[in-house]
């Protein structure tokens, strides 16, 4: 290609006008339903051995229907490799579920092992997933290392391990009635503070994790930077917590009101409360309010999820590319409501339709603003040796965790 040597400064924006590319999703619920159904039945029949293939088909379907600038993504993971990672994780989970028949501490051990390994597993899963995702023939990469993953999740890990150690210590002592109560009440005070501390630190733990992810994405020579601070996450968390608290108060008031009215009208008497029928009605009402609260918290989660998604991606930058997420919390909340109601009504058959609808909402809310076209921005792939090795190691284990 002939090179034009400029002797005068050229206005870059003339040749490279800023552009905006919105992501598109062309998948449909009906299509995915068929894939999902076959996946489900084959997985069940093979007692779970088919799951890596099911994952691969699902990812291929979703990626190849996700379009950016007229080209779609693709997934290249080899299910045989994914089977290895799947067996590793499945055995750990199996130990957690059934180990108690061999030794009472087995579940705790399995859980602690899983937790200790989780940063490593996370790093490998991210490497595997991204290295097997491509766009226009170019592969993505995840540049984070396992060491960085441990640094990012170290604090959270410490919190959970201490928590489990405290709980496990109660199990270790095979006590008679009294010492048990003593041991718990001794622990209770500082355990309570520890849990409160963990609760307050959760947005910070989350920020550490997301920073690890968002500053290590790469496509060819393009790498991402993450400029978010933890404080807006606290803002979102606080608002969500406030909503949850508010709804609990409202529900309690409603419950109290119902009870008062029932009592005032003579429907509820002390004898009735003691009878088995009365007791079961009480329990049922309690369950009903609890379910309503679960439902409301699902909606609060959607709200927090949408705000967080927007916040994280609008603070992720690549050279000459900015991400412009515009996920409307209201839309996501309404969609979540509709999805969950329909899933309930159809006994789960609506699930694939719900998954497609949610994915579409999230993906199509994203656009990229670029200075210039996407054809010329992404340049030569720069391969560092340790990245290649990291990807290869991830390939060997084939760990892929659903995000």
């Amino acid at each position: 290609m002939p090179r034009i040597i400029e002797s005068e400064p050229v206005d870059e924006t003339v040749n490279n006008p800023p552009q905006q590319f919105a992501l598109r999703f062309t998948g449909t619920g009906a299509e995915y339903f068929r894939i999902w159904l076959v996946n489900l039945l084959l997985s069940a029949l093979t007692l779970g051995l088919y799951v890596p293939w099911a994952r691969q088909r699902t990812l291929k379907y979703f990626y190849r229907n996700t379009w950016l600038a007229n080209s779609a993504l693709d997934f290249h993971g080899d299910p045989w490799r994914m089977l290895r990672g799947w067996l590793v994780i499945a055995s750990l989970v199996g130990f957690y579920s059934f180990g108690k028949f061999i030794h009472p501490l087995a579940p705790m051990v399995a859980l602690s092992l899983l937790m200790l390994l989780s940063p490593a597993l996370l790093c490998m899963a991210l490497r595997f997933r991204l290295a097997n995702t491509s766009w226009r023939g170019l592969r993505f990469h995840f540049l984070g290392t396992i060491g960085e993953a441990y640094r990012a999740q170290g604090l959270a890990l410490l919190f959970y391990l201490v928590l489990f150690a405290a709980l496990g210590a109660n199990l270790l002592e095979h006590p008679e009635a009294n010492p048990k109560v003593q041991a718990i009440s001794q622990h209770l005070r500082w355990l309570g503070w520890w849990i409160l501390g963990g609760f307050l630190a959760t947005p910070y733990f989350y920020w550490l994790l997301k920073r690890y992810q968002h500053q290590h994405y790469a496509l060819g020579a393009l790498t991402t930077r993450f400029t978010a601070t933890p404080w807006p996450l606290y803002g979102i968390g606080l608002r969500a917590f406030g909503m949850a608290l508010g709804s609990i108060i409202v529900l309690l008031l409603l419950g109290g009101l119902c009870y008062y009215l029932a009592q005032a009208n003579g429907l509820v008497t002390p004898e009735m409360l003691k009878s088995p029928v009365g007791k079961s009605i009480f329990v049922l009402m309690g369950m009903f309010f609890y379910l309503v609260f679960l439902f409301i918290s699902m909606l609060i989660f959607s709200y927090a999820g949408a705000r967080t998604y927007n916040f994280l991606w609008s603070h992720t930058h690549a050279p000459q590319i900015t991400f412009e997420p515009m996920l409307r919390a209201g839309k996501l909340i309404k969609l979540t409501l509709k999805n969950n109601l329909l899933i309930l009504l159809t006994l789960g058959l609506y699930y694939p339709f719900a998954k497609v609808a949610t994915y579409r909402l999230k993906v199509e809310a994203m656009s990229l603003a670029t200075e210039g076209t996407l054809d010329t921005i992404i340049g030569q792939q720069v391969y560092h040796n340790d990245e290649a090795m990291g990807d290869a190691a991830a390939e060997i284990f084939g760990i892929d965790i659903a995000f």
Partner: protein
């Protein structure tokens, strides 16, 4: 360049940059020809390559997704028009996979789903029980014993207290039962360890993996005047039957497999939701297992010249006990019947009566 049946337009990406090159594809023998389509290309450079068809990987068709093919050199081809691409690839039978085809067509998907559902049902009714029956005896004895001792330890913590029965009475029951087992099974009898406990569980008998049989004081001294020795032999024979059939491991294997399958089927549903179907599914297996143990009990009784009808009297006595207890506690037990894994007592009484009539058969 014009496009005819033998050619289709595509975008070529070299795998090094995101730059798109307009090309035409044609197939000649075993080779795929990729040539620049100069009127659409944004670069002046011409591409004219021939690639062996065996080195091209044609991606499966996804209805609205991108149509594409991957080249061995790292490059890829993307369709310019999906319909034209589909027509062109169909001509040469490229990129077809049976699972993809099943997914694409509704009738294929539904009929394969139907087949799979039938297979799942067969697995539940026949496959898994058969598998558990075959595998259970093969589990290493040490592992089975370990599981049994762990269970016993956890039971002893909360539910089992030292027995209040007299040593003489315990010895009498032990010896009578040992004699009956020798008479019926001889050398083929499984090893067992009979233990007595007082228990919150009420009148009950349990067989744990590894050979421990537990008999509760409350059963031995069932009101109004205890349980006859012949009936105790029937009860212990039932528990011995569990040991003979390796029921502990069978149940564990079936339960594990059921849990896995139901968890997969229910996907993201919460773990509490999966408990109910698992419980119900397991209940059906349990009824079958309990019935087999009843058969072992009847066989043991017959071999010792005892009529299996004695068990009918035992169940009636047990039913009276439970009725009296419920009246006292004033708690309706209808829920228990629904989820009970023991065949309803009337069924068991009927079985033992029938088993007795076989005594008189030649």
């Amino acid at each position: 360049m014009y496009q005819d049946d033998m050619e289709t337009s595509a975008w070529y990406f070299d795998g090094q940059t995101s730059q798109a090159h307009a090309v035409s594809l044609s197939i000649d023998g075993q080779k795929l020809h990729i040539r620049s389509n100069s009127c659409k290309s944004t670069y002046a450079e011409d591409i004219d390559v021939a690639v062996a068809l065996s080195e091209v990987s044609w991606a499966e068709r996804v209805e609205h997704g991108m149509r594409m093919a991957y080249l061995a050199n790292g490059g890829m081809l993307q369709a310019q028009d999906n319909a034209a691409w589909d027509q062109w690839t169909a001509r040469y039978y490229l990129g077809q996979h049976w699972v993809a085809k099943a997914q694409l067509r509704w009738d294929a998907a539904l009929s394969s789903a139907a087949v799979l559902i039938v297979l799942l049902a067969l697995f539940y009714v026949y496959g898994l029980p058969w598998f558990a029956e075959v595998i259970a005896p093969k589990v290493p004895v040490q592992l089975v014993a370990k599981i049994g001792s762990t269970l016993l330890t956890s039971l002893e913590g909360d539910y089992l207290q030292p027995s209040k029965l007299g040593v003489e009475q315990q010895k009498k029951i032990r010896d009578t039962f040992a004699k009956a087992v020798r008479q019926a099974l001889g050398a083929a009898a499984p090893d067992y360890d009979l233990r007595f406990y007082a228990s919150k569980l009420g009148p009950n008998a349990l067989a744990l993996p590894g050979g421990t049989i537990i008999l509760t004081d409350e059963l031995v001294s069932l009101p109004p005047s205890g349980v006859a020795t012949q009936q105790l032999i029937g009860v212990l024979g039932h528990e011995l039957g569990h040991l003979q059939h390796h029921d502990g491991m069978r149940t564990l294997i079936q339960f594990a497999a059921l849990t896995v399958v139901i968890d997969i089927l229910m996907g993201d549903a919460s773990s509490t939701l999966t408990l109910l179907p698992t419980w119900l599914a397991q209940a059906r297996y349990s009824r079958a297992i309990e019935h087999q143990a009843d058969q072992a009990s009847a066989a043991l009784l017959r071999a010792n010249g005892i009529s299996p009808t004695v068990m009918a009297g035992f169940f009636e006595q047990l039913a009276c006990y439970h009725a009296a207890k419920n009246a006292h506690d004033r708690e309706p037990s209808f829920l228990n019947i629904a989820f009970s894994s023991h065949p309803a007592d009337t069924e068991r009484i009927a079985f033992f009566k029938k088993a007795a009539s076989r005594l008189s058969e030649p």
